[in-house]
Amino acid sequence: MSRALALLLCLCARVGAAQEPIFVTPPVTMYQFGGVAGVDVERAGRTTAVSTEAAIGLLPPWTVSVHAVGIDDPRAAFELARVHVGTRVRLVKVDRPREWLLLSAYGAVALPAGDAAREVAESHAVPDALFGLSAARMARGGDSFGDVAVARVPTPAGSRTVGTFGLAWGWRPRPGGYGDLEGQLFGEARMQYAERGVAVLGLAPGFLVHSKNTVFKLGVLFPVWEREVEADPVVRAAVKVLF
């Protein structure tokens, strides 16, 4: 149970995620006829979740994505848990010199899968569907993000609703020129609330480095407060390429 909740903190955030930050979903939509593809590896206790995502921009304010999650549990063989189809729509974008503000809405649903996949999704709380709003202010000195999402998670008894709320602050110590290797340090906070009063608050330090169209990011999510459950720390690393 605790491991499932810890994993869910990240799996909710990952669908539709582009390049920043690490656990909090960013609102990026601007990939017309291009996109982003990446691999995320997440470790919680002895369980590893591997996911891949590709997002394609059909219009500047509209992207669609495909996201697959597989779980490697020491008690069983690697199993594909869910394939999600998602979309993201830009609601507001304000461009200023060396700064932009963006608000977007996103959603994803899982494609039908077999009983084996459903069992894995249930045991590791991989969502069937989710909807969220995310906002960002990005600037040369650093970025800040906010995200609210609601997910429907399968359980052996049916399903339950889980809400997440995330905030992230980023700082670029040395903003570089275009093509230079550039880094950003992140501090993130995520809170999750589930039906029947389950709640988890996690804090995550992390960093990312990128150069042109390639991003690598790594973060560790530490549960600092739990009610009814004891969540494990989660390590998450991701590589993404824009094309």
Partner: protein, 112 residues
């Protein structure tokens, strides 16, 4: 008095018509300096660069992140309108605030 005004008006007209960035086709080999709002990091710049490189006649693209500038070099004898540039920057997800045009041939003549 009116005899003096006619050459002056002609000169003003010629100056206005040959001044870059006022709707006429730019001269051959122009460099364009684009002020792009919203570019904050390499990933933003990559998107802008990728879109602008697809424009016909664009020979080179150079991004200056700190100043929010993109410098385009066009092939000799070609031109790109402001509306095309604005559309491509918008498709990359950003806003074009202004374009400054530099005529390569005129600059070379001026330095001789």
């Amino acid at each position: 008095m009116s005899q003096m005004m006619i050459p002056a008006a002609l000169a003003a007209l010629i100056l206005a018509l040959t001044r870059p960035g006022l709707g006429q086709a730019p001269a051959a080999g122009d460099s364009l300096r684009l002020n792009v709002d919203g570019m904050v990091c390499s990933l933003c710049a990559y998107g802008v660069e990728r879109r602008l490189k697809k424009i016909e006649h664009v020979e080179g693209v150079r991004v200056e992140l700190d100043s929010g500038l993109v410098v385009l070099t066009l092939r000799l004898g070609t031109a790109v309108s402001d509306s095309v540039l604005a559309a491509e920057v918008r498709r990359a997800g950003f806003a074009l605030r202004g374009v400054t045009r530099f005529n390569r041939r005129r600059t070379e003549e001026g330095t001789r």
